[in-house]
Each structure stands twice: as structure tokens, then as C-alpha cells.
Amino acid sequence: MAGNTLSRIDDTLLVREAQRGNRAAFEELVRQYDHAVLRLALHLTGSEQDAQDIYQEAFLKAYKNVANFRFECSFYTWIYRIVTNLCLDHLRRRRVRKEDAPVGRDSEGGEFDLLDQTPDRRPGASPERDLLRRELGARINGALDRLTPRERMVFELKHYHGLKLRTVGEMLNTTEETAKNTLFRATQRLRGALADMR
């Protein structure tokens, strides 16, 4: 606990230093948020390479524009806003390319990504459990992929990252009310797509 207290360095101070051109301070800010950023990008893109590209572009953008950061929101919200915009662009591009993606169809006609079908080679993984896990995972990912990029993003930030909808609204430049409606729509669609799973 004391370790956490020690490593909690004031963001404002670090941002001010970064604005003065101190790269070490900026790198400290990167270290505070980069795990969460990479995790978000990785889950949304499903690709390590794409996640790394988004990570790189987001922090470079932040570095170039940190002088313009005016403390109207927290640095955390600001960096997430950059990342979510990049991820939204990525999801939109992917939707356009979707027809070229290597997809298969399950017994009920639902699409799944063939790339998700690689076997789990970790020691201790039983073939049956592995198969079930992959089937469920593929169906959930398929259902998530069929959401609109904005629905996907709101659902991702709320369900997997536990952010408050008010913060999600701030990040996506919209109101809390709109974020609530989007979450409602996303959940309804997911429940419809995965109705037989429960």
C-alpha cells in the first residue's frame, strides 16, 4: 500500500513538466497509463501489432500536443480520448474491410473469425474445455464485432474497463445521457445475439 502511495506522483506536476519540454516527466505519465491503453487497444483490435500501432500513435500525439493541454479535464480522460478516437477509426476501417476477413460460420449461421480458432497450447488445457472456451469466446467476439464502432466502444469502456458513463461521455465528446442510451442499445443487441448462450 505504501508502495502505491509512493508511486502516485501528481499528474498535474508531471504534465506541467512535460509542457516545459521535460521528456522524463512525459515518460513517467506514459508509464502510469500505458498498460491500460495497451489493454484497451488489444481487446478492441484483437491484434498485438495493431494494438502496438495505436499505442505508439496515441502517445506520440499526446507528446506533440501536451503543450496545448489546458487542464479542462484530467490527463487520464485526455489520453483515453486520444486512444478511443484512434480505436474508433480502426474499428470503422475494419468494418469496411470486413468482407475480406477470414470468417467462418457456426452451426446456427453465426459468423466467427477463423483467426480465433487457433488451439490453446498452454500446458494443462484440456481439449474439451479448450474447444468450449474457443467456441464461446468466438461467439462473444463475433457479437461484439457486429456492434457499431461507437456501441462497441461504450460497451468496452463500461463493461471491461469499469469506467463511469459520465467519464465515457467525456472521452467520446458526448453526454452521459447519450452514453447511457448507447450502452442500452449495445447490451440489447448483444443479448439478442447471444440469447441461447445462457
Partner: protein, 310 residues
Amino acid sequence: MKCEWVRQNVILYLYEELADDSRYEFEQHVARCAGCAAEVESGREFQQALAAAPVVQPTPNLLTAARMRLQEALETTEQGGFWQRFVFDPGAWLRQIRFSPALAMVLVMVGFGGGVGAMYFMHGQAEPTLGSSGGLPPDQASISGIRSVTKDPSSDRVSIQYDTVTSHREEGAVSDQRIQQLLLFAARNNYNSGVRVDSIDLLTLQPNDVRVREALVYALRYDNNPGVRLKALEGLGSYVKDDVRVRNAVLDALLNDGNPGVRVQALHLLEPVKADGSVRVVLQRLAESDQSQFIRTQARSALAQLPEID
């Protein structure tokens, strides 16, 4: 009607997004209505089902690779400065002015005042003063770099050579406001680590000044030269006991500094406050798992001298 409202808000309830009063109303209704209770249960089951596809955590390798790639790119990337706003985004300014008549008025007044000031300056100044000593305090924004800091060994006089558009020299006592200002500037901004060491060294003579202490903490945390960090530690030594910010900075150095010498020095500085809770926790962590055997041994011996806590 009530059931409809509850069903529309099941998701918000499960994600803890309902306001307290609505939440109370919601729970009161669900306790009495079997249909709505089933709806809540179904929503909960759906959330649990999603756990079959958990979020993949980035592996340490991926995180390290991403960090290294970013660090490499940062080497060759320049920050957009203050002027970028004016140069690249005049639209934002126009928008601000449109929505803020007061700001527009201030800008007009500043422009008018600036014009009058410039006229006064052009007429009022007989000739430019270059290489002045003892003039106005230097404006930090106009300093492009500090060339050298030299102290006269026989007195408390200091000589600082710095560049604006041209080179300047400033001389005075260490306690002199202008000298202090230049030293603080040099401690944070100079590319020459020798100048930073000299500046920090002189600043440690006035550690009671809050700005000086901040500069020392800053140097300890962020300076990339271990010599400068050691000097800063030296200056902060007497404040470890009373100033929590200083103590935290020293603890951070002890835990995270990349230089063993700085860490050992930090460990020695914490000797008088080793019974403090946060210090004790850090010592325990170091004693158990620090990579350096010397630090592990020192931490163990410091802990051994402390009374047990139940």
C-alpha cells in the same frame, strides 16, 4: 408503467449507474415484482456469460516492446509548442473570441497597450544595453541557455554567464534574487550537467527557500545525471524528517533510481526516519526482494534495529 421503467433501467442498475434515489425505488419494486426480479437475474446471468471471453492482458513482452518503440520515436519527435496553436489552429481562436466577448475586449486592449508601450520604448530608450550586470532581473522565457556558473572561493560572490539573443553575465551574492532565479533556471533547464551540478550545489546553501527545495526534489526525481541527483539528495538530507514530500522523493529514489550510488545514499538519508510506517514498508520490500545484495543487507540491518510491531 413501473415495470417498464424498471426493465429499461436493469442495465444501468447492474452497472451501478443509477442515482441513489432511483436505485432505492428500483430495489423496492424488484423486491415485490417477480417478473422484474427475473429480468434482473437474466441481466446478471448475461454479464456472467460474457466472462467466457475475458479481456486479454498485454504480456510483459508486448508492453516492453511497445515502450521501447515509443522511446525510440520520442528521441526524434519534437513537441508542438505554444505558438502551434496560433499557427495551426486559428479557427479555435476565432471560435473562442466569438463565444467570449470579454476575451475579445482583452485582446483589443492588450494590442492597444502593446502599441503604446512599443512607441514609448522606441522613443524612451537612448541605446540598447548589452552585457549588463545589475539591470532588470532576467526574464526566464528570454534565456536560451546558461553557459557557466562560477563561485569566487574567497567570498559568496557568484558569476553566471547566460545567453539570451546575446551573451550576458550576472554577478552577485548567492542570496541575491537575480542569482537565485538564474540558478533555479539552470538547475532545471540546462543541457550541460556540469552547470546543473554547480547550480544545485549552490542552491543547497539556501534549502529553506520553498522554490529551492522544489528544484532539488525535481532534480532528484527527473535529472538524468546521477551526479546531479546525488547533489540534490545531499541538499535534501536535513528535510527528510519534517517534509513528507522530500521523504517521498527520497523513498522513490531508493526504490526506483537506476544508479546504485544514489540508492545507497537515499538509504542512508532515511536512517533517522526508518521507524516511519512508509519507510518501514519500503525497507521490508527491499529486504525481501531487492536485486542488489548490498541494499538487501542494509535494509535487513536497518529493520533489525527497529522495535517489533504487533
